[in-house]
């Protein structure tokens, strides 16, 4: 089933064109990894699909145009899991999760018992109940990411859009987070996440989209898209895609160790 469908999406910041003619479809049950160099427009595309930026072209959710949804309705379908970030004011983890229920509250009414219970359940699901009363900013990057995922669960959205979810996490937490995504995917959640790690895409996604300088290079099944050639085109580095005896694929850098940062386009300030 098609959940989100973007057709011919374009976007510019002021005079700078960031996205050109993007076609993309997110199907129910997908775990899509969005790969691309710094400044290729990944986060921008994510925010367009969330309805945060108005783009040219057309984005539909369940066949209805994004701009025809109210903000709260949209939030009941799609949740945003941002990169863990510092909050200037210290909310507790539980307060942060409770904010996932805003889309269900009347403008002037308070959170109900149901809302509080759902927030508790969500924290339970990511095994963060013990730290519910801790100030969010005291948590480690991995714990913050889990709390933000719990907030998306409390939001009862079935589509989760994640912006570099493993950014800043240690290796163990990265793998645990990817497993969590796999796990929730089997429970019926749909994921679209941006990432800088081809290995992570190989490990937990069924489809991969490649974005370079605002254009979609490829968007298809993992094995078709994540080839050594495509990664060379995308990042300008040589890699080899290897396969273990169990059939698990992984990506290994190879070739001469030339240090040529010019191959990577300079990060565009806007993204």
């Amino acid at each position: 089933m098609e959940l989100i469908k973007a057709r011919n999406v374009g976007f510019s910041y002021a005079s700078q064109r960031v996205l050109h003619g993007i076609d993309f479809t997110l199907y129910a049950g997908d775990v899509v990894s969005l790969l691309g160099p710094n400044g290729s427009g990944k986060s921008t595309l994510l925010k367009i699909l969330l309805g945060l930026y108005r783009s040219s072209g057309e984005v539909t959710l369940l066949g209805k145009k994004l701009q025809h949804y109210k903000q709260a309705e949209l939030a009941q379908h799609i949740a945003y899991v941002p990169q863990s970030h510092n909050m200037p004011f210290t909310f507790t983890a539980f307060d942060v999760v409770l904010m996932g229920r805003l889309a269900y509250c009347g403008m002037f009414s308070n959170y109900s018992k149901v809302d509080r219970n759902l927030a508790h359940d969500a924290l339970e699901k990511v095994a963060m109940s013990a730290l519910a009363d801790e100030p969010f900013s005291n948590l480690s990057g991995g714990q913050q990411q889990l709390v933000l995922i719990a907030r998306a669960l409390a939001q009862q959205a079935h589509i989760l859009l994640m912006d570099e979810p493993v950014n800043g996490l240690d290796y163990g937490n990265q793998i645990r987070l990817l497993r969590l995504i796999k796990d929730f995917s089997s429970q019926g959640y749909t994921f679209l996440k941006t990432t800088h790690h081809p290995d992570h895409a190989l490990y937990c996604s069924n489809r991969v989209a490649l974005l370079k300088r605002g254009r979609m290079l490829a968007c298809d099944g993992v094995e078709r898209v994540l080839t050594a050639e495509n990664i060379a085109t995308l990042y300008g580095v040589e890699v080899e895609i290897m396969c273990t005896e169990q059939g698990e694929r992984f990506c290994l850098p190879c070739g001469s160790a030339s240090i040529d940062f010019k191959a990577v386009p300079a990060a565009m300030s806007a993204a």
């Binding site: 945060l52 903000q71 709260a72 309705e73 307060d95 013990a130 009363d133």
Partner: protein, 360 residues
């Protein structure tokens, strides 16, 4: 975190811990309400005209039991001192203190900045200019109040207009800059008025008014403005949930389903309304909108559902106490704006260490 793990080891569930915390917070609120009532009561008895306890009790008994007319007749001096002079002033001090503190908390959450005060968008500068203009034009008292209110609203409108010119830029910073520009403009215009004002009567009146005083509040003004101020105050308290989301940043708040634009428009309108009305009632009273939110966050954390009502209570208590000082400290009344700063600054320095826990 150590505490949390120790609790798990001892079998205390999250719900139980949260209930304990909730009860603690309810206690703090109860204490604050009691404190406010006590300070209000004390303020009634404080003042130049000495009131004996017996007399007061006899009068209060009559007055509260619905024999107001009889009370007024038997204790005519007491009636005019208490009901006509002190009571309106106490009500004004409470509502102004509460309003400025809540407006400050709202702006700090909305602009994601703990250093912001209600005057951010220019409302205080605008209202000051308006009042001075009224005085220079020798308008009647009501005209001066109206001019203060209108110019306060105008200054905020100007700040918003400047922000709207640069629609696609980072809205919060542009909005703050719009406020800075608008404030500067009206401050400059105010200087022009001060320079041209009659130095023997109008200029002192303007200067005195800029230092703030609750002695401007007659019962008619209080009676007229109390209702709208209370309504706007309650309106802001009801936005607490959405303000929490706004302090995560606009995009995240929208992704959570909050209609950011609408909430901002309502919050700015209500905060401007109450700030302008505060100036109309008592001139310019600084510091409350900046420091009281910090004290509230020190007690309750960042959650605006608690910070806003706590700010209201603490702000009311603070202004009442300061006003009592201003009335009784010296033979002549000290302008309250001076005292809120002089009393507020040491308190702020003292709480700053702990208040820093409320924001990072």
């Amino acid at each position: 975190m150590v505490r949390a793990q120790a609790d798990i080891a001892s079998g205390v569930t999250l719900q139980q811990r949260q209930e304990v915390r909730l009860r603690k917070e309810q206690w703090v609120f109860f204490v604050l309400v009691m404190l406010l009532l006590a300070v209000m009561q004390m303020s009634l008895l404080l003042g130049k005209y000495p009131i004996s306890a017996d007399e007061y009790l006899a009068f209060a008994k009559l007055y509260v039991t619905g024999h107001g007319a009889e009370a007024a007749q038997r204790f005519s001096t007491l009636y005019s001192v208490l009901v006509e002079i002190r009571l309106p002033r106490i009500i004004a001090a409470s509502i102004i203190g509460a309003a400025l503190a809540v407006a400050g908390s709202t702006f700090q959450a909305m602009f994601v900045n703990p250093l912001v005060s209600p005057g951010l968008l220019g409302v205080l500068a605008g209202a000051s200019f308006g009042a001075a203009l009224g005085m220079v034009l020798r308008l009647p008292w009501f005209g001066i109040q109206l001019a203060a209110f209108v110019c306060g609203a105008l200054a905020v409108a100007l700040a918003l207009l400047i922000a709207m010119i640069y629609k696609n830029s980072r809205s919060v910073i542009i909005l703050i800059l719009g406020g800075v520009i608008s404030s500067s403009l009206f401050t400059a215009l105010l200087s022009v008025l001060k320079y041209t004002a009659d130095p023997y009567d109008t200029l002192p009146a303007i200067v005195y008014w800029l230092m703030g005083s609750l002695s401007f509040c007659d019962s008619a003004t209080v009676g007229l403005l109390f209702g709208p101020m209370l309504a706007a105050l309650i309106g802001l308290l009801l936005l607490a949930k959405q303000l929490n989301a706004l302090s995560l940043g606009d995009e995240e708040a929208r992704a959570l389903g909050v209609n950011v634009r609408r909430i901002k428009v309502i919050a700015i309108t209500l905060a401007t309304l109450i700030s302008a009305l505060c100036v109309v009632m008592a001139g310019v009273i600084g510091w409350i909108g900046l420091i009281i939110p910090h004290i509230a966050r020190m007690l309750f954390g960042a959650d605006n559902r608690k910070v806003l009502p706590a700010s209201a209570l603490i702000g009311a208590i603070f202004l009442l106490v300061t006003d009592n000082l201003s009335r009784t400290l010296f033979i002549n009344e000290v302008p309250i704006g001076i005292l809120t700063s002089l009393v507020g600054i040491p308190i702020f320095v003292l709480v700053l260490k702990n208040a820093r826990e409320g924001f990072k």
